[in-house]
């Protein structure tokens, strides 16, 4: 019992329990989404996911027990291997019109998911250095480079959803590591201008907020004018440049950004997804009784649209349960990130939490029609082995960090 004691002392059981409950919800939903009959032969996807969850928990156990120092020491090695896999998948990858999977016999692994964890560890290694204060340009450029490499490789597959995860990770992590709010604001402002430039009122509102922000930062007149002109310039130039593009080029960019997609396919998907969710009502239609789910009009209902299955069959109450579990997990993650002594662990835990937050919000937002359809799975619930294992690795690292929260290294 000595070993058990060591591992389970200071162990965050509640965090693990919330993850396990989420996986259980996912299995239930996958069972329903792929249900065709009572024979076990029909429940292939469910059985497979159960197997993946078991393997994932073993991986989690490894990540909890290995010293965090190990991950810190080999961070760049892990990162390089992940990048190599991303290159390999571009050569030998399989998938419908894409190259996302490496087939190893009957098993298909998705290198983008491995890269997610590896990049997180590499970022934590670089930004977790006790002497890093993010005062120099280099301190910002290296993390940007660390994220850009997998980002570009994943885009090449192409897998926009996974690529966005890398993009979403970088700014919050820099911020956490100490990048000042002012710099963050200066970086974010032109992006907001660019996006809002498509709509007159949105742009005016954005300019107002940006001006107010710049003023409040109080860095002097030259700083204010430079940034103000920059943002106005971006806002004016964007529609002009946009106008010079040919229609198909515009379409290509919009499609690439996930704003316009095959109008027959995805628009229809979102409508049906909303109908599925809305018709679930308060308590849902009951397990295996979701008419929308079982008519199989959503091609990705056991992967990207798994949330619909829960919403339709278990209603608002089911949705509240899942969202509460997610929210608890995320807030707990943030809490752990702020409590652990080692800087490496802190950045690691925070980054992992941000990855989860981004994926959850974008995925659920997509099913209820407030986010574009990008093809991002819902952590712990969507069908898919690589994602589940990668996510459980992050969970393992978070639990590990909490266990060793008093250690500096």
């Amino acid at each position: 019992m000595f070993l058990e004691n060591r591992i389970f002392r200071h162990f965050d059981f509640a965090f693990l329990a919330s993850v396990l409950l989420l996986i259980a919800c996912g299995l239930l939903a996958i069972y329903s989404a792929t249900y065709v009959g009572d024979a076990p032969a029909f429940q292939l996807k469910f059985t497979k996911q159960l197997l993946w969850a078991t393997i994932g928990l073993a991986v989690l156990a490894v990540c909890v027990t290995l010293p965090l120092k190990f991950f810190q020491k080999y961070a760049y090695v892990i990162y390089s291997v992940a990048l190599a896999l991303l290159v390999v998948v571009l050569v030998v990858g399989t998938g419908a019109g894409t190259r996302r999977w490496i087939a190893l016999g009957a098993v298909r692994i998705q290198p983008a998911e491995i890269a997610k964890v590896a990049t997180l560890i590499a970022l934590a290694r670089y930004l977790g250095d006790e002497h890093r204060n993010l005062g120099t340009l280099k301190d910002i450029l290296v993390p940007l480079a660390l994220v850009s490499a997998p980002l570009l490789l994943v885009m090449k597959q192409p897998d926009l959803g996974s690529a966005l995860v890398f993009l979403a990770l970088i700014l919050p992590v820099l911020h956490w590591a100490g990048l000042s709010g002012a710099v963050l604001f200066v970086i974010l402002a032109p992006l907001v201008s660019l996006v809002s430039a498509s709509n007159y009122y949105a742009f005016l509102t954005a300019m107002f907020i940006i001006s107010a922000g710049l003023f409040l930062l109080g860095r002097g007149l030259r700083f204010f004018v430079f940034n103000f002109v920059l943002n106005i310039g971006v806002g004016i130039l964007t529609p002009m440049l946009w106008g010079t593009l040919k229609a198909y080029q515009q379409n290509r960019i919009l499609t690439f950004l996930g704003l316009v997609t095959d109008p027959h396919g995805l628009g229809y998907q979102v409508i049906q997804s909303k109908v599925a969710i809305g018709s679930g009502g308060v308590v849902g239609k009951g397990f295996l009784h979701g008419t929308q789910t079982h008519l199989r009009f959503l091609p990705e209902q056991h992967t990207d649209f798994i949330f619909c299955v829960i919403a339709e069959e278990f209603g608002f109450l089911g949705v509240l349960l899942v969202l509460s579990l997610f929210l608890y997990m995320l807030l707990r993650g943030l809490n752990i990130a702020s409590k652990v002594k080692a800087r490496f662990s802190s950045v690691l835990v925070f980054g992992g939490t941000v990855i989860f937050l981004f994926q959850i919000f974008v995925n659920v937002g997509m099913t209820i029609g407030i986010m574009p359809v990008t093809g991002l799975p819902l952590p712990f619930l969507s069908y898919g082995g690589s994602a589940l294992i990668a996510n459980l690795m992050i969970v393992g690292l978070i639990l590990n960090a909490w266990r060793k929260r008093f250690d500096y290294f």
């Binding site: 065709v36 009959g37 229809y268 049906q272 109908v275 969710i277 009502g281 997610f326 939490t353 937050l357």
Partner: protein, 593 residues
């Protein structure tokens, strides 16, 4: 450091909570506020993907006449989820389709693939049942009908052994074909051309998306979705000439036997029939066990293909083989004569000639014309068993002709090894050879092999693999794929020998005293040979093989009437009818050409 994390943490705490509030609010808006609207929409908006079967290809004759076509038939399907919920509906439907409710329910449970995919419960519903169901459709949630197609035979020919029939795919077949191409309940060719050219005829099913209401009725086609139209099956043109086929089916009516007519220039099968046959549309409707049992257990064996599966002794038609063997090996000379007193004595055992009073003195040509047994008994001994067997095999007896139909029989050509094996090394005498010389005894052939032999004689040593498939047409593109037959050259028989045999066959049909005068056709110089094969099971089998015209033959055939009697009296006139039907047709074609 710690303080910094704490303040940053607070920002992300708030951010996370705001994002979740947005999600929660939106979900509450959809699920609580707009619940009724979306429930209504989900009731109304039931998208179903429907498999659209491809129309099966037509089967045509060589002149483009449609022999096998499709016509609509109705089937009843239910969606288990909607149907099984309603006990009233189960009771009502079971009355309407006359099946016990418990049986119906357990069948649906067994055959369903998921709760929402329709299960077909009854095929080929008659119109009265269909209209009764439509009348009560409001009380039958989840019940709907489909239009399917069934085979019809508008060509005026049965040709049941050529066409074969369709049947529901068996689970064994499903395993080998894979589920991509076929689903349970699909039709598949079970025999004949339907089986052999299944891949051409079938086409590929399509998918369409339809919106159905709560009663399972199609509201509209969702054309904006990714519909896949079915690819219709290819039309198969056969080498069959429907006029010849129809003539033969008519003239063979009430008889048992088989006729094979082919074009010696190409191996095209012009007519191919086995009697008794069965109306091919018997299999278009659901087959009752009684009809099936009657078919299988009938003493007449209508399912059996006598033309290429059944084996018979060929009788005197086979004297032609001995004639060729004799002429080639020197066992027979043209001017050599034999005296026929009506019997031949081998040792103390007499072998009878069919003509009791005897043929008198005959040479080869006279012996062929009058079909003298005694001449061939004697010559059989001169030529010997080994030469006889060698030439039998040379003319492809004891082998498959290679026709594109399943289950062709090879027949039996006895030789020394065969007799040693069957009767023991010293257990057989030359008497067996005497029987073989006149096409009796252990020798067995199919009518198809005899027609093939007639083709070799007609072409003087050239055969073509008999075939039914002429061409395949893609109905969408109009692209035609033509098929041609393999040519087989028979080496080792001289042109003089063929000339002599043709001379003999000509006299059989055209000269006074010939046994096959019933096949005579003015101006067409038909050639032939009759046969009357004795058999222990009753009346003799009547045979005729022949071709016409004598020079540049266009048609070769074999007629066999099982237990029909004399070849000259029964088989030859049928052959004559074929010749006249064909050439009448041929003349017509020549004019239109």
């Amino acid at each position: 450091m710690k303080g910094q994390f704490d303040s940053t943490k607070r920002i992300y705490y708030v951010l996370t909570c705001i994002l979740f509030l947005i999600l929660g609010a939106r979900l509450a808006y959809l699920q609580l506020y707009h619940q009724d609207r979306y429930i209504r929409e989900s009731e109304r908006n039931r998208v179903r993907s429907v498999i659209v079967d491809a129309p099966r290809g037509q089967i045509l004759d060589r002149n483009g006449r449609i022999l096998v076509d499709n016509s609509p038939s109705y089937s009843i399907s239910v969606v288990p989820y909607e149907f099984l919920k309603s006990e009233g509906a189960v009771a009502l439907l079971s009355t309407l389709v006359r099946e016990k409710a418990t049986d119906l329910v357990s069948r649906i449970r067994k055959e369903r693939i998921g709760n929402f995919s329709p299960v077909r419960i009854k095929r080929q519903v008659d119109f009265r049942t269909l209209s009764a169901i439509e009348e009560h459709i409001l009380d039958l949630p989840g019940v709907f009908h489909n239009v399917e197609s069934k085979r019809t035979y508008p060509g005026g020919v049965n040709a049941s052994h050529i066409f074969g029939y369709l049947g529901e795919i068996a689970s064994r077949e499903l395993k080998s074909t894979g589920r991509d191409k076929y689903r349970p309940g699909d039709n598949i060719g079970k025999s004949g051309v339907e089986l052999l050219y299944e891949d051409y005829l079938r086409g590929a099913a399509g998918v369409k998306y339809v919106e159905v209401d709560v009663l399972g009725r199609e509201v509209r086609d969702l054309t904006e979705l990714n519909n896949q139209p079915p690819a219709p099956g290819n039309d198969v043109s056969l080498t069959i000439d429907a006029r010849v086929q129809a003539y033969l089916e008519n003239s063979m009516d009430g008889k048992r036997g088989a006729v094979v007519v082919l074009d010696p220039r190409s191996g095209d099968i012009l007519a191919f029939l086995s009697k008794p046959d069965y109306p091919p549309d018997l299999f278009s409707s659901p087959l009752t066990p009684k009809i099936w049992n009657d078919l299988v257990n009938s003493s007449e064996h209508p399912l059996y293909n006598r033309a290429s599966q059944s084996l018979f002794p060929p009788g005197s038609t086979y004297k032609l083989v001995l004639a060729a063997a004799g002429l080639e090996t020197g066992g027979i000379n043209l001017d050599e004569t034999v005296f026929c007193p009506g019997y031949y004595k081998l040792g103390r055992r007499p072998f009878k000639c069919w003509k009791k009073e005897g043929h008198g003195t005959v040479n080869l040509l006279a012996a062929l014309k009058g079909s003298c047994n005694v001449f061939f008994y004697k010559k059989g001994l001169d030529v010997g068993l080994d030469n006889w067997a060698k030439f039998s095999r040379l003319f492809h007896f004891g082998q498959k002709t290679g026709i594109d139909l399943s289950n062709e029989s090879v027949g039996v050509v006895p030789d020394r090894t065969y007799f040693d094996r069957t009767y023991g090394e010293r257990g057989w005498t030359k008497g067996l050879l005497l029987n073989l010389s006149v096409g009796q005894g252990d020798l067995l052939t199919t009518p198809l092999q005899m027609a093939y032999f007639a083709m070799i004689l007609a072409n003087e040593g050239v055969a073509h693999k008999p075939r039914l498939l002429k061409s395949v047409t893609d109905p969408e593109t109009g692209a035609v794929q033509e098929f041609s037959s393999e040519k087989v050259v028979i080496e080792g028989v001289s042109a003089e020998t063929y000339q002599t045999i043709k001379e003999g066959m000509f006299s059989v049909v055209n000269e006074p005293g010939g046994t096959g005068r019933g096949a005579r056709l003015q101006g067409r110089d038909a050639c032939g040979k009759t046969g009357t094969a004795q058999n222990p099971h009753g009346e003799s089998h009547a045979w005729f093989i022949g071709f016409a015209p004598r020079n540049k033959p266009e048609i070769a055939l074999c007629v066999m009437v099982e237990n029909g009697g004399g070849g000259g009296a029964v088989a030859a006139p049928i052959a004559g009818g074929v010749f006249s039907t064909y050439f009448e047709n041929g003349d017509l074609m020549a004019v239109t050409d």
